[in-house]
């Protein structure tokens, strides 16, 4: 399954970069969302895929059942990343909205006034 996931992650990255390279400012937002999904999935895949063995400890046991359960640490990391990603996204959306308002342009190619 790892190889399928590899393709999925690759596709997500490609799509996000492609969107970020568009001139329309709105597409930038889409690109950022895809990027954060791609990143999370990358970590998830790299740290190993395990089917049906969540890191939960049932009543009466001190470790999860079975010999190999999913690695909880990357999950914790991704959980953090998802939440931060959302915060950052909210920030990004407002920032881009403001840039659009102040500059009055939605064509990225027109946003180069800082050019000397």
């Amino acid at each position: 399954m790892g190889s399928v996931m590899a393709v999925v992650v690759g596709a997500l990255f490609a799509a996000s970069v492609y969107m970020m390279l568009r001139r329309s400012i709105v597409k930038l937002v889409i690109g950022l969302i895809l990027l954060s999904n791609a990143a999370n999935l990358l970590i998830f895949t790299v740290s190993g895929l395990t089917r049906g063995a969540p890191p939960l400890i049932p009543e009466g046991m001190t470790v999860p059942p079975g010999g190999a359960w999913a690695d909880p640490l990357p999950q914790a990391l991704i959980l953090t990343a998802i939440v931060i990603g959302f915060g950052v996204l909210a920030f990004a959306v407002v920032l881009i909205h403001r840039a659009y308002e102040v500059v009055g342009e939605d064509d990225m190619d027109q946003m180069r006034s800082t050019d000397s």
């Binding site: 970020m20 930038l28 950022l32 990027l35 990143a39 990358l42 970590i43 790299v46 740290s47 190993g48 640490l73 990357p74 990391l77 953090t80 990343a81 931060i84 950052v88 920030f91 990004a92 920032l95 881009i96 403001r98 840039a99 308002e101 102040v102 500059v103 009055g104 946003m111 180069r112 006034s113 800082t114 050019d115 000397s116």
Partner: protein, 484 residues
């Protein structure tokens, strides 16, 4: 890690600087909320007090210590102390210089202090992090605050645009950093820098993975440095952001970037030095030669300083890639003194700016000597320090780095660096000519600003001279921090 480690009660005292700064930041927020003062005077003084007191605490608690806490995620050591105190000091200068400017433009709000203080906190966390996740959080905290700070000026399309570019590129770079970290985790199963270091020393068939992680992290770190070719945001952001924010990005954040490098690559991946050295050499060469020449044709001093940054980043990277204690010490010395010098240069720009007037054109410096001999002299010191001419601290910084580079066997790189510095001489000394020998166009901007601002700026400028004559103590401290 043993059970005992995992469940010890963390030594909160060791991390007191960060905790204290956090508490003070919250206090600033609350006080500012209830203060009726339009100029946010209480917030200003409280902020300055916070920075100074945090610096004092850091020195007292962390200098000469080498200990970790919070299950090894936080470390206090000598070079961390130097970088933290430097970052705090630069923050202090930044606030001192920016007050009048921000007030004149209606930007002096509680958020400005809040965001800046949290940015400082982010830097401190970055510098003291001993765990990939903590490091990442510190970097993100700092970066987010800067994105917001750049965008603070509501009327400026330039600022919004710069913030957006900074953000998008920054998000990508943070992403790279994170991927790199996840690669390392994938290989070692640990986020702890000490464990990673051990694993890196005994690599076998998983070496390639480690190297991928390394590449991504180098990219992320290079972005924070503004090293070529990850430099494109620098001129736009320096130019677009309100000058005080530019000041902080140009100074304190560079110091934090050195911290990031030293922790992540210098410390965590030290056994892979042969591999990352090559990459850093490429970045250093590009930084020394590529962006630098563009500074020659700039007419805006903020942009000029932005382009000139690359050369200095090249020098810092040279010190870092030399790897040995001498190289690290030289890089830290370079970063700290460079940041100090640039802070003063932006201070002079701020000093000359008035309400509704930005003194950021080179022509504004024409004939400064006649209007204000003192500040012309200070600017002279700063420019010759940035060029690397003796008598000022910039010379010793370059000297130390070059010496470390030669000792590490990169003679050609040292020669190349000198070639880059020669180009630098052209644009820095041009400002000297403008100030001393040219006639102003029209009246030219007069220095403004309060007494406190002027006093701090003067001291800052003279420190560049004083350290140029007596650099011994600072050099000794920087070197001692890395002594084995």
């Amino acid at each position: 890690m043993t059970t005992a480690d995992a469940f010890e009660t963390p030594d909160l005292m060791l991390a007191l600087p960060e905790i204290w700064l956090l508490a003070m930041a919250c206090l600033v927020l609350v006080v500012d909320l209830f203060s009726k003062d339009r100029d946010h005077t209480p917030a200003f003084w409280l902020t300055q007090f916070a920075l100074v007191s945090t610096a004092v605490i850091t020195i007292n608690l962390q200098w000469g210590v080498d200990a970790t806490t919070f299950s090894g995620t936080y470390v206090a050591d000598d070079f961390g102390t130097i970088l933290k105190v430097a970052a705090l000091g630069l923050g202090f200068l930044g606030f001192a210089y920016s007050r009048d400017y921000m007030r004149d433009r209606g930007l002096l709000t509680g958020e400005f202090y809040m965001l800046s203080l949290f940015a400082m906190l982010g830097m401190l966390v970055t510098i003291s992090a001993h765990n990939l996740l903590t490091l990442y959080l510190g970097v993100e905290l700092m970066s987010l605050c800067f994105y917001a700070l750049v965008a603070m000026d509501r009327d400026s399309p330039r600022a919004s645009e710069a913030a957006m570019k900074y953000f998008v590129l920054g998000a990508l770079a943070s992403g790279m950093l994170l991927y790199g970290m996840s690669m390392l985790y994938g290989t070692t199963g640990s986020l702890d820098l000490a464990t990673i270091r051990e694993a890196a020393a005994t690599l076998e068939d998983n070496r390639i993975l480690f190297l991928f992680g390394l590449v991504f992290m180098v990219v992320g770190v290079a972005f924070k440095f503004g090293a070529v070719p990850f430099h494109m945001w620098v001129p736009d952001v320096y130019h677009g952001a309100p000058t005080p924010v530019t000041l902080m990005i140009a100074t304190a954040s560079k110091v934090a970037a050195v911290g990031l490098f030293l922790r992540l690559i210098g410390e965590g991946l030290e056994p892979l030095i042969a591999d990352w050295q090559q990459m850093i050499v490429i970045l250093a060469v590009l930084s020394l030669l590529v962006g630098n020449t563009v500074a020659l044709v700039q007419t805006n001093i903020k942009r000029m300083l932005a382009y000139s940054t690359f050369n200095h980043m090249g020098f810092i990277l040279m010190g870092l890639l030399a790897g040995a204690p001498g190289g690290y010490g030289a890089a830290v010395f370079y970063a700290v003194t460079y940041a100090m010098t640039v802070a003063a240069a932006f201070g002079v720009v701020l000093l000359l700016s008035q309400k509704n007037f930005e003194a950021d054109q080179l022509t504004d410096f024409k004939g400064l000597n006649e209007r204000s001999p003192l500040y012309a002299f200070i600017m002279l010191l700063l420019m010759i320090s940035l060029t690397g001419i003796p008598g000022t601290v910039g010379f010793y910084a370059k000297w130390l780095v070059l010496k470390a580079t030669v000792e590490a066997g990169f003679v050609w790189l040292a020669v190349l660096a000198v070639a880059g510095a020669v180009v630098g001489a052209f644009y820095y000394l041009r400002i000297v000519r403008l100030m001393y020998f040219d006639k102003p166009e029209g009246a030219g901007p007069q220095p403004s600003g309060s007494g406190g601002f002027r006093a701090v700026l003067t001291l800052n400028g003279l420190a560049v001279l004083a350290l140029g004559i007596f650099p011994g103590a600072l050099v000794a401290i920087c070197m001692a921090a890395f002594a084995p």
